[in-house]
Every structure is written in C-alpha cells, then in structure tokens.
Amino acid sequence: MSVVLRVENVYKSFGGVKALEGVSMTVNEGMILGLIGPNGAGKTTLFNVITGYYKPDKGRVELFGRDVTGWPTHKIAQLGVARTFQIPKPFPDLTVFENVLVSIKFSSRKLSEQEAAEEAKRILEFLGLDSHAHMLASQLNVALEKRLELARALARQPRLLLLDEVLAGLNPSEVAYMLEKIKRAKQEFGLTIVMIEHVMHAVMNIADRIVVLHLGKKLAEGTPEEIARDPRVIEAYLGDPKLALAFVERLSSKKR
Amino acid sequence: MASRAILWIAIAVVVIAIIGGLAWYLSRETAQETAQTPQALQPTGEKEGCVIKIGFTTSLTGKLQKESAEQLNGIKLWADEVNSKGGIKLPDGRKCTVKLVYYDDESKSARVQELYQKLITDDKVDYLISPYSSGLTAAAAAVTDGYHKVMIATGAASDSIFTKGYQYVYQLYTPASRYMTSAVDLLLELDQSNKKVALLFENSKFAKSVASATKAYLEEKGFQIVYEDYYPPGTTDFATYIAKISASGATALLGGGHFQDGFNLVKQLYSANIKSIKYVAILVAPPEPAFAELGDAAVGVIGPSQWEPGVKYSPEAAKKLGIEWYGPTVDEFVKAYKSKYGKTPGYHAAGGYAAGLVLQYVIEKAGLDTEKAKEILDNLDIMTFWGRIKFYKEADKHGLQIGHSMVLVQWQKTDGKLTKVIVYPEAAAEAKAVYPIPWSK
C-alpha cells in the first residue's frame, strides 16, 4: 500500500499566532483519515498547507511520493488532489451543470465536449443533483450546495480527496445520504480521503484512522477506538457535549 | 486548447484579410482616375432662395463651454446684422441671406471631426468657422482641409496648426508665439535694468506653446531666465512655486494658462508680498472682468488680450497704414453687442464676430467659389474693429495670422476704483502703464 500524503513537521504561523506547530502525518492509499479537533486547532490551515494556499514556514508536504512543498495550488490540484471548502465556494453565477462541467474540463482527462457533458450528467445523477442542473449555484440551499461541492471535487476524478466539513449544517438524513455517497465514491473511484469533521459519530463510523489536532499540534493518532479511549483527547474535548455523546455512542455500539 | 486558438486566429486573419483586401482593391481600382475630388460636392445654396450656409461646432457643454458661448454670441450677432440688411451681395449681383448651421462638440475632438464631416457632406455648408480652442481647431482642420473648404479659425492661437501644410485654414487670433512678446517689449520700454525673469506657465497645450516662444524671445532680447517651471492643470496651491521664484531673485514674472490658475497665482503672489518682483504679466486671466474680484491684488497686473472694447482701431488708422477699412467701428460693434446681450463684449465674442466679418468680405468678392475665396484671403490686408487682418501665404505657415497684434491690459486703481485699461501698444493705449507693481514699493 503506497503512501498518498505525507506531512512532515509542518509549522505555520500568522503574525504572532501559531496555527500549526510541528504536525506530521501519513495517509496511505485507499484510506479514510478523519481529522478532528476543537475550533482553532489548525485543521483547515493544514488543508490549506497541503493544497498550497499557504506555504509552510517549516516542514514538508509530500504527495504521491513527490515533494510538493511550496507548489502553487493549481499544480497540486493537477496532481490529482481535490478539495471542498468549509464555507462552500460554488461558482455562483454558473449553473449547477456548468459548475461540474468546468471542473471536468480542467481535470487531467481529455474529453470531447460531448463526453464531458455526459460525464457531468453522470456525476450530477450520482449525487442526486440532475433535477437541479439548470439552476444557478447561487440559488441552492445549504444541503444542495454541499453536494455540489462534492460533485465538483469528484468531477476531477481525484486520487486524493480532502473534505472540509462537508456534513456541517446538514440534518441527520442528509448526513446519512452524504456518508453513503462518500463511501460509494471511495469504492467507485478508488479514492483516498482526508476529512475534517465535527459530526463525531459520522467520523467514528466512516474513518479508518483519526488524527486529533489541538492548538496546532498533533494530540493523538489511531483507530477510532483508540482515539475514543484516549484520555488526552477526552480532556481536550472536555465540556464538548456533542463529542462526549459521540464517544458514548461509539463505545456502547462496540459493546453490543 | 492550443489548436482551437490557432483555428480562431486563422479565422480572424482570414476575415481581416478579406476586409483589408477589399479596401485595397477599391483603392487600387480608382486610384489612377484623377481625383474627382470634393469639388464635385460643391454647394447648392446658390439657387434655392439663395441661402449661404456657414457651418461650425461650438462647445455648449464641457470645459470650453464659457469661452465658446461668447464666441457663438459674436457669430450670431454678425449673422443677425447681415440678415437684417437683407443678406450679403454676391459678385453676380444676387443678395443672399446667411444661415448658421452648428452643433455641440462637447469640447471633444472626436465629436468635432464627426460633426465637421457632417457639416461638409450632409449639410453641405458653404464656408466654415472653427470651433473654439486650438486643440479642437486642429482636429477640425484635419477634416476640412481635405475637402478644400475654407475655414476661418477663431479662438485658436496655436501656431502648430499652421505648420502642418493646410491650405484652406486662416487664423484670426494673434498666434501663441506672439502672445507674450508685447509684454516683453513693454517691460523693455519701462525699465532697461529689469532683466531677471521667472517663467511659470501651465503645463497645457496653449500655455506651453506661448511659454516656449516667450522664452526664445526673452533670450533673444538679452534677458536672464532665472526660474522656469510648469504647473499641472488645475493647480490651486502655488506656495512652493512662489517660494522658488522668491528664492531665485527674479524681478519680473511671466506666466499663467487658464483663468482659474492665473487668478490663484496672482492672489497668492500678492499675499506672499515678494518685494523684488516689479513686473507681472499673466496669460488669459487679466482681461476677464472676474479678475477684479482680486481687489488690490489685481492692481498693476498686466495681461495680453486679443481685443478690448477700448481698442483704437479706426478708419483713420487704416488710412494711415494705407489699407482698406471694413465693417463696423469698434464703438458700433460694442454698442450692438451690448444692446443684444446686455453686457460688454470680451475678445472671444469679438473674435466670433470678426470671423463672420471676414467671411462676409470674402463672399462679397468671391461668391461661393472656394478657390477664388482662397486667393482673396491669401492676399487680404484689411483693418476692422478687430484690428489688422493679414495672413501668411507661403506654404510653410500658410494661414497664420501676421497682421493682428495683441494689446496689453493692466488693472489700475483710479480714485479708489479698480479699472482695466489698455496700456500697450502706444497707439491703442488708454493710459500709461503703472510700474513697478504697487506691492513692491
């Protein structure tokens, strides 16, 4: 199993604020890695470093065995990395269909106009967006916007998919729908996924491994079970009822 | 992507080639024919009711609005007077009325070219008058001269229009190159020892061309230019310029550009109270009545003017020079203008009237025959209320005004009242120039 992403000892600070302090992690092919931690832990900053929006102050980022530290975002994207944004960034004045089509056009695949359109249609159907194809992206509700983000990322046929809170703000049935789609997408496209998530039961459910960030440092790493039992993690999250509930849920379901 | 781009570029090249080729073909096909030039579209005015059409544009809007409006008043007054007398008598004995055809050019040269084209080809006017200002006249000349249409340029003092080889454009204003020279002459007359001159002009087309000619003239006359600078249009604060002039030890200042900046310059100069400066001559601003708002600061300031209501041109003066007098006297003009518009005419208005007057003279002699009109204008040497009018007729500066000269005005205080008087040339002078400027005492 080859290493898809390796982050080594990455530092990043803004002014006086240290957002990342010596974070390292490794993601193997075919894996779903959950990235959790309280607000301000540096999760999104880490995504931005990986995807090249920020240049790390120190440390290196390796993708598919190549050192990509300091590469511009679009070059990293062209390696086969796709991401979604915490606050969705659809192309508001383009239709849903056009959003996906643009993404296909700039993926590494060489498709004819006709093929690209077919492909866009396929992806929209996969995410249940086909009936909204002619709507402007700006007219979508949150749930559909999140789906569009995912659709646009999948349209690139990436090898590594970075999901930044795609479940936030969704109701339970929508969460279930998205989880289902992510799992299926992983199988169908042979993806490796790193996901930042606050919906704990979802992460615990879907992730193979979990990395916990706290105040810019890696606090713990392990399987969901290990993380759930780690006293440091519990301490860091103490007082977060949602998380506590998720832990309890997880542990009790294991016992049964 | 690349191959697509190439395809598009190829299409672009082909289309442009087709258009270009067509244009070339058309030009090639007929180029050998003798130029069936524009004479063909000569006026039709002669028969139907006999109306002579005079065309021009005026700046009803934009930055030249004010001066242009006065010029228009002058032209209108002329046309009304002519028509009230039943029109102009042509050499063939017919009497034709005058019709003014004019449009708003927004003070922009793009509009000027568009509209002169329309005047010539659509309205088929017989003679043209220029728009106001050198810049717009240059743009108009580029159109009109090609059609061999006579255009009387008024409100355009630039010399450069007349070095471009145009053959049908005639200038009424004293050109920029001689704008300030009389101010230099006056200084020489007043004080032989005042030789240190500061030049501070606006960085604009007109002021710049006056400045360079003035500079050359000063050097020729043995003056020492101790300071020279150009301020950007719209400048309101002259503190640092005045500081440098003061530090330069200059004893005379020549400068200005438009009304506003000249006004501010004098105002701040007066406040600064630089005792060393004894002589101040400013472009454009002093002849304006609004200059009086400066109060004491205006006293002693000299300014060149194309024309003033107090000028002394007269049939007698013409006789002395042995040239023909034509048109109304100065007083008649001023009186007619006052009764029509309720105010004293300035030089823009006088220039407008004079342009009409010259056309009237030409039409009486040449009718509507442009080539004959050109011949008459080339050899013209007359005196009118506007002054002497004579054009340079060789090709290198064809149409440049060489007969007319500037007068200098000075603001003086008599019995506590601020008045504008002509002080130069002596023949036209109403009073002697005050020297040195009061504040230096």
Partner: protein, 338 residues
C-alpha cells in the same frame, strides 16, 4: 435533462450568435463601402467610426471585466499606449499606419504584461483603484515628456498622408474611409477574440476565476497565468483603436488618449449590455452610444444628470445588464444569449 439536448441547444445558441455577429460586421462593411460612393452616408460613417472606437475598447474590457471579473477602471490606458506608440512611429519615423498599428498592439500587450504583473495581484476595489492610478500616472508622465510632445501632444503634418488613397480619395480625404475599415477590422478581431474566450476552455477557466478565484485554483486552474493572459488579450483591440484614432485625428493629446471618461464609458457599455456576454457588448455599446448622442443633442445641459441617474439605475436595478437579465429570466436563454 439530456446531455445531447444541452449540446444541441448550445450549438443552436452559438449559431445564432455567429449569425448576429456576422450580420453586424457585414452591415458595417456595407455602410463603409457605400460611403465611398454616396456622400450622404458619410455622416453615418463618422458616427459609426466613433462607435467602433468605443466598441473596440469595450471588446477588450469585456475580456478582463466580463469574463474574468476584474474591474479595470482605467482600461483606456491601452488606448493611450496604442495611440502614442503609433504616433511616435509615424511622427518620428514616418512608419505607415498599418505597421504602426501592429507595433502599437504589441507594445500594449507588453505593457499589459508588465502592468498586470503589478495590478493583478490585487482584487476587487483595490484592483479598480490601482488601474485608475496607472491611467493617471501614464497621463502625467506623457504630459511631461518632451519626446512625446508633452502637454502639447504630437501632430502629424498634412504631407504625411499623401501616400494614402482609397477609391479615388487621396491624402487626408482618404483617411476617414481607411480608418473606418481599419476600425472595422479591429472590431472584427475583438468580436472573434470574445467569441473565442466565451467558447474555449480558456474562457471557462476565466469564468471560474470570476466566480471564485480560490475554488478555481482548487480545480487546477493556473489563475495567475489565465488572468495575465486575459489582461494581455484585453489590451489588443483598445491599442489598435488608439493607433487608428491617432492616425485619423492626426494629433495625440494626453488628456484625450489617457482618458478616464473613455474608461468609464466603456464600463457603462459593458454593464448595460451584460458583462461577459458577446451579445451584451454589442447591445450595450450600441444603446449607450445612441442614447448619449440623443441626450447630448436634445438636453445638452442636463446630460450629466441624466447619465448619473442611468448609471445608478444600472448598478442598482440591472447589475447584470440587459442580456444578463434576459439570461437570468430563463436559464434556457443562457445558451441562446452568449
């Protein structure tokens, strides 16, 4: 929704645009040729020349403002650079206008590359302000450099034009006709460039940048390269128009060639029709030019006020322009109204 349907609609839309564009070019060509033989058309020829001058700037601006979403508030800077480059070549070296145009366009492209390197790192209002500053800086520099004629400008002599002739018209008489056809060529080039941008993958990338630059990077678009290229392309037609107008008017003046008014007029034209659409540029410029001419002749003293109200109206009520509004009314029309 069938993919094939979309493609068919797309093709139909493109066909309609192609026919419209071709019809416009042909009509302009006919009027131009007609004016060679009929004097009555010559006023229309001059009005259309002014229209095409503005249209050339608009077509350039639409690439950077419409497709890429960068509000270039000083786009006339390329008109000025083109005009001055051409004039220097013609005035000092006697170069003919055709060569001068080509060099002017190349000079403007080089300038766009350099200016873009500075201003394209800015976004939104900062970019807009920076482009105003660039325009004003050029104007000040040009009016102070003697070689460029300073504030007096450079003026060609009548004799420069003796070599030109068309359909029996010679010298300065021929200039207005030739300039018309040259402007038509420029407009044609501009329309083709816009069509290319609207239909190519390059244009799709620009649209993505307009919509969200970060997301565009994330889907693998080299945004820096794309927007620089867009800026360079957007300088071509304004520069060509500047060169032709310099030649036609025979004089270049700093305030007329580096003019904020021209910049703003072209923005209004783009916005009026609908930014980022080919048909929008035509519609917007045509309406603006016509309305302006009517206002100026009918209400000369009120025209500033009327314009102010019109501009504010567009901004507040019709920010996507006429064509943009129609497109929004029905997404079906998106394909028909490119």
């Amino acid at each position: 929704m069938e993919a094939k349907n979309i493609l068919r609609e797309l093709a139909r839309g493109r066909m309609i645009t192609n026919i419209t564009v071709a019809a416009i070019i042909l009509a302009l060509l006919t009027i131009g040729i007609g004016s060679l033989y009929s004097e009555t058309l010559s006023y229309y020829r001059e009005t259309l020349s002014t229209f095409m001058m503005l249209f050339s700037v608009v077509l350039g601006l639409n690439i950077i403002l419409g497709y890429t979403g960068y509000v270039s508030f000083g786009h006339a800077v390329f008109f000025g650079i083109g005009g001055y480059t051409a004039m220097v070549l013609m005035y000092y070296y006697g170069v003919n206008v055709y060569l001068a145009m080509i060099i002017a366009a190349l000079a403007a492209m080089a300038a766009a590359q350099a200016i873009g390197f500075i201003v394209l790192r800015l976004r939104g209002a900062y970019f807009a302000i920076a482009t105003i500053a660039v325009l004003e800086a050029f104007r000040v520099i040009v009016s102070n450099v003697e070689y460029l004629g300073g504030s007096e400008g450079l003026q060609l002599e009548a004799s420069y034009y003796t070599g030109y002739s068309i359909a029996g018209y010679r010298g300065q008489m021929s200039v207005h006709y030739i300039a018309y056809f040259l402007l038509l060529g420029t407009v044609t080039l501009g329309l083709l460039l816009n069509l290319y941008v609207s239909r190519s993958q390059f244009g799709a990338g620009l649209r993505a940048i307009r919509e969200d630059e970060d997301a565009a990077e994330a889907i693998g678009i080299n945004t820096w390269k794309f927007k620089t290229l867009a800026y360079v392309l957007s300088s071509i037609t304004p520069a060509l128009a500047g060169a032709i107008i310099a030649w036609k008017r025979n004089i270049v003046l700093p305030e007329e060639f580096f003019s904020l008014t021209l910049s703003i007029e072209s923005i209004i034209s783009v916005m009026l029709g609908g930014a980022g659409t080919v048909l929008g540029t035509v519609t917007g410029t045509a309406i603006y030019h016509t309305v302006k001419t009517i206002f100026l002749t009918s209400f000369p003293s009120l025209h500033l006020i009327i314009f102010g109200i019109t501009i504010a109206f567009i901004a507040e009520v019709l920010p996507m322009g006429i064509i943009g509004w129609l497109r929004l009314m029905s997404t079906r029309l998106r394909f028909l109204l490119e």
